[in-house]
């Protein structure tokens, strides 16, 4: 084994002198009494290497031994990942808790994949020719057919199936197949293989353009700012504006097969909400608990910073793995700024030349290559799968001009910018409808949403004008446009996430009520004073809010709709 010796410690960076060969991103363990602390090589110069240590570094001294593994920082891929809660290095937190109690202890690493038996059905037979990522068999994991594939790390060449187990119950760690390479060398395969997290999985035929909407049951998103399956989006916003709540709702409601939540450097308590709530919630698509389609990667703010840097890669690697099974996976990362800060801390310790706000010069390219791992792909067997990535951004001072937000905006397909003014006024979700944008197509005809956006835009203009010339200096027509935009905002854009009914609105319902909204926005009303206009729209608003609170197609829903339509009709101006 290749070893080295510690020559320096600065925060979570260790400097190590070594002989022999080591590689970038190789894992090394610092030996400390009976513990071994995991670290990753992040720079090599001559016979000295800088390692980021995934644990607290107190107690380490100069001269301590480092054992290099020859392996890149990797995760285990196989059946049993779903419904697990991992730390940034894929240690299962529940198992750690069982072993260590309330507190995390350093230097304890556990198997990511439980030693569980699975009902295996082979899909190939002896003598078949396979390549990396070809399906050898399947096991049922929750509601999915989990594909047991030829390890992605195998060379890109033909392997002959020498042995494959018949249908039966086997442990994930059992040998299920033996494959012979063109040189006649045998390779043993289990249900599990490893993959280096910083390397994208590219075992597919081609990448396709994301088109189909990934719905979230949040009106402002689905109707106005949609995201596509295989696309990317970001949610920047100052603290308290509602980034995390928005991601939590999305993780519940998103119309995808699998959700991976990367709680990256933020509050532990927020993960607990999900942990406790999800097993109780049923996924309307499957009738099973939501947890069965979820993986949580949890490296919260007080956990080691270097592992935080790794955690988003751990998460996206698992997302790519499930995409290989023809599934739609959504990865939600909260917050990508904490990941960027972890990079910044390390860059500072490496004494690299700092860029803007001391972030490293490679910040932009690193963010870009992370989001590049999203995508809709056609697999070798013709099926498609997707990874959609949504990241929150926590800009310093709430100012979107800072490096992380700017670098992210350059690469994502949709921008859901949260505004302090809107969250202060409790206008949730506090997405600024005028500043935000998307490149994807939504569930509603663009012509119609364009009209609604136009009214919002004009309404804002009138509102600004009124601040200069007062209400008295505003024409009645303008004032009505302003009222319409306020109405649209308060009953459609705003949505009470904690309300049982209003909290998640089906696509069917969104289309239905949007049409009603559209008719109101288009309509000309006979209103003779501003006072009358204000009170008319107040009444519409009241009725619409009540309407939103009744379950879809219930009697109350229908009655309220009628009452709303009557109110509208009463003031409708009939054009001659």
């Amino acid at each position: 084994m290749n070893t080295g010796k510690i020559v320096g410690i600065n925060g979570n960076m260790a400097t190590v002198e070594f002989s022999g060969n080591i590689s970038q991103n190789e894992v090394g363990y610092i030996v400390l009494d009976e513990k071994r602390l995991k670290a990753e090589v992040i720079r090599v110069t001559g016979n000295s290497a800088a390692l980021q240590v995934f644990e607290m570094t107190n107690g380490i001294g100069v001269g301590d031994v480092v054992e290099f593994t020859g392996e890149q920082l990797s995760v285990d891929l196989g059946p049993g990942l779903l419904s697990q809660v991992y730390d940034g290095l894929q240690n299962p937190l529940a198992d750690l808790a069982e072993k260590c109690g309330f507190f995390l202890q350093r230097g304890i690493y556990m198997n990511a994949i439980p030693d569980k038996k699975w009902e295996f059905t082979p899909k190939v037979k002896k003598g078949d020719i396979v390549q990396p990522a070809y399906t050898l068999g399947v096991v049922p994991e929750g509601i999915f057919q989990h594909r047991i594939m030829v390890p992605f790390g195998f060379a890109q060449e033909d392997f002959t199936v020498k042995m494959i187990l018949p249908k039966g119950l086997y442990s994930a760690y059992d040998e299920i197949a033996v494959l012979t390479d063109p040189r006649g060398v045998d390779h043993s395969v289990t249900m599990i293989f490893t993959w280096p997290i910083k390397k994208p999985i590219r075992n597919y035929e081609e990448r396709l353009k994301p088109v189909e909407p990934m719905t979230t049951k949040v009106r402002i998103v689905d109707t106005f700012l949609p995201v596509a399956l295989g696309g990317t989006f970001c949610i920047p916003g100052p603290f308290g504006a509602g980034k995390t709540v928005l991601q939590q709702i999305t993780s519940k409601n998103a119309d995808v097969d699998i959700v991976i939540i990367a709680a990256c450097g933020e509050r532990a308590g927020e993960v607990v909400d999900t942990l406790i709530e999800f097993p109780e919630l049923t996924d309307p698509r499957t009738g099973k608990s939501l947890m069965e389609r979820t993986i949580i990667i949890c490296n919260t703010s007080s956990m080691p910073v270097a592992a935080r840097e790794a955690s988003v890669y751990t998460a996206v690697t698992m997302a790519e793995y499930y995409r290989q099974m023809g599934l739609n996976v959504l990865l939600l990362a909260d917050s990508t700024s904490r990941w960027a800060q972890a990079m910044r801390e390390m860059s500072g310790r490496l004494e690299e030349i700092p860029g803007d706000e001391a972030f490293p010069a490679y910040l932009e390219s690193t963010i870009a290559s992370f989001y590049e791992r999203a995508g809709l792909v056609r697999l070798y067997d013709g099926s498609t799968g997707s990874v959609t990535i949504g990241g929150t951004v926590s800009p310093a001072g709430g100012n979107f001009e800072e490096p992380v937000t700017q670098a992210t905006l350059k690469v994502v397909g949709a921008f859901h910018g949260l505004s302090r003014e809107r969250s202060d006024a409790r206008k949730y979700p506090a997405i600024n409808p005028l500043e935000s944008w998307t490149k994807y197509k939504g569930i509603i005809e663009k012509g119609k949403t364009d009209l609604a956006r136009h009214i919002l835009f004009r309404g804002e203009e009138v509102n600004q004008m009124m601040k200069v010339v007062g209400e008295e200096g505003t024409s009645l027509d303008d004032y009505i446009i302003f009222q319409k935009s306020e109405f649209l905002d308060s009953v459609y854009l705003q949505q009470d996430s904690f309300d049982l009914i209003d909290g998640s609105v089906s696509i069917e319902r969104q289309k239905y009520i949007f049409n009603v909204m559209y008719e109101i926005l288009k309509a000309k009303f006979s209103l003779s004073t501003k006072q009358e206009a204000r009170s008319f729209f107040n009444q519409l608003r009241q009725t619409f809010i009540d309407w939103n609170s009744f379950s879809w197609e219930s009697d109350s829903f229908k009655q309220t709709e009628e009452s709303l339509m009557n109110k509208v009709k009463a003031k409708l101006r009939i054009e001659k």
Partner: protein
């Protein structure tokens, strides 16, 4: 192995370097100078060069002074004997009591496994409507008061502490004015709460580095008591002084600053302290109420900004009142679903109207004609500020909610409030009278 060195290689600010071997990162040393004896801890190793931050500061240290390595990290004594006692930032008595050295515990220990956390569920009642209705405080929450200097933040802190039903209060003072220290002491003594309180106080005139230890010591002790089943409230005032001490050390160590001189790991340093707030299943809890003064009343200043991203909300104190905008309790939805059925809607509804009031106020100040609607809002806003926002108001939550409906009904017609009809039917005062 050599433990005592008498040659200090460099002295810069509060950081000294010594050429030594066989020492461990984070361990303690004792530095004896003509200023007295001070503890120091190892913050960096580079070959033989060992960097130490000296708790009592670098002032007066000479290159020939003695550095003795203790071979252990910083620890603090933990027992019931701490109750009623007052210590400085290094854990030495500030009162006349004895030095405590039994049962030493580690400070700055590992964080709680997120899988072991539970969802907080107990509201802490304060009698302050701006807290109880709008920004409910919850057991195990971490929450700072954002304030400009000169505001009565320490009074607010003390008032909440006295009113809260907790087993133990730990005060961590950082750069505390001596008068404020005495104020806390008198408040707790006069209410008889001192025997269930512990103080770790670093005052403005003490060495800066000692300030850095205060949160770790306070929270380590709090955590131990919580594990023994106690509900502990930790008061940390003022965390901006703590952050400034971090900045000072970072600059001395030639770290590249990220924002206005603060180190890039400010977020992580603050988070590792605040995240000590916890509710232990089957045992006690740690709740953290802190003070973060905002230099120049600027929330975007790195200290309040990073803090806001870490804590579970904040109380924004301004002109002696808790501002509805900027204030937030992120845990409120864990508890306000089971207080009263109108709580949530009233909370959001009143704030929305208050936001509109602010707009009308702006229009008015620009000399525009006020519409009926503006007049209604102005009337509402004034009542709201006077009857709800004043810190002198001290009523239970239920009374405060009733008061909310009362104010609304005095100012608006029901459909102007944007509140759901079923709630209006149930709580609107006049409609209720007609019923009866």
């Amino acid at each position: 192995m050599q433990k005592v060195y008498t040659k200090i290689e460099s002295i810069s600010g509060n950081v000294i370097t010594v050429n030594a071997e066989g020492v461990k990162n984070g361990d303690l040393a004792m530095v004896s100078s003509r200023e007295g004896i001070s503890l120091a801890n190892i913050i960096k190793l580079k070959g033989k060069v060992v960097s130490l931050q000296v708790f009592a500061g670098g002032r007066g240290i000479s290159t020939g002074d003695e550095v003795r390595f203790l071979d252990r990290p910083m620890k603090i004594s933990f027992s019931e004997n701490l109750l009623g006692r007052i210590f400085d930032g290094s854990g030495n008595p500030r009162d006349l009591g004895p030095v405590l050295d039994e049962n030493l515990i580690e400070i700055g220990g590992p964080s709680v496994n997120p899988a072991k956390r539970i969802v907080p569920k107990n509201m802490i009642r304060t009698g302050i409507p701006m807290i109880d209705i709008f920004n409910t405080l919850v057991e195990s929450q971490k929450l700072p008061i954002f304030s400009v200097s000169g505001e009565p933040y320490n009074e607010l802190l003390a008032r909440i502490a006295m009113q809260a039903e907790v087993d133990l209060i730990i005060l961590g003072g950082m750069g505390l004015k001596f008068d404020d220290y005495l104020y806390f002491k008198e408040e707790l003594e006069s209410s008889g709460a001192m025997n269930r309180a512990i103080f770790f106080v670093h005052t403005a005139s003490d060495p800066t580095v000692e300030c850095l230890l205060v949160p770790d010591i306070s929270l380590a002790v709090a955590e131990q008591f919580a594990l023994q089943g106690k509900k502990v409230l930790v008061l940390l005032t003022d965390m901006t002084n703590f952050a400034d001490s971090l900045k000072e050390i970072a600059i001395t160590m030639d770290q590249v600053p990220s924002n206005r001189g603060y180190p890039g790991d400010l977020y992580s340093s603050l988070a590792s302290r605040y995240e000590k707030a916890v509710d232990f299943e089957g045992a006690g809890s740690v709740t953290i109420l802190a003070v973060t003064t905002m230099p120049g009343d600027d929330v975007t200043h790195p200290v309040p900004d990073n803090t806001g991203y870490i804590t579970e909300g904040q109380y924004y104190l301004r002109n002696g009142r808790i501002e509805p905008f900027g204030s937030l309790s992120r845990l409120k939805q864990q508890v306000n679903k089971s207080t009263r059925d109108d709580h949530r809607s009233l909370m959001d509804g009143m704030i929305k109207l208050y936001a509109s009031y602010k707009e009308s106020l702006e229009k008015k100040s620009m000399g525009f004609q006020m519409s009926d609607w503006d007049d209604k809002l102005l009337n509402f806003g004034e009542k709201f500020e006077l009857e709800m926002m004043e810190l002198s108001v001290n009523i239970p939550l239920e009374k405060a909610l009733d008061l909310g409906w009362q104010i609304l009904s005095e100012c608006f017609a029901p459909e102007e409030t944007g509140l759901k009809t079923d709630l209006v039917m149930k709580y609107w005062p006049e409609l209720n009278k007609e019923d009866k």
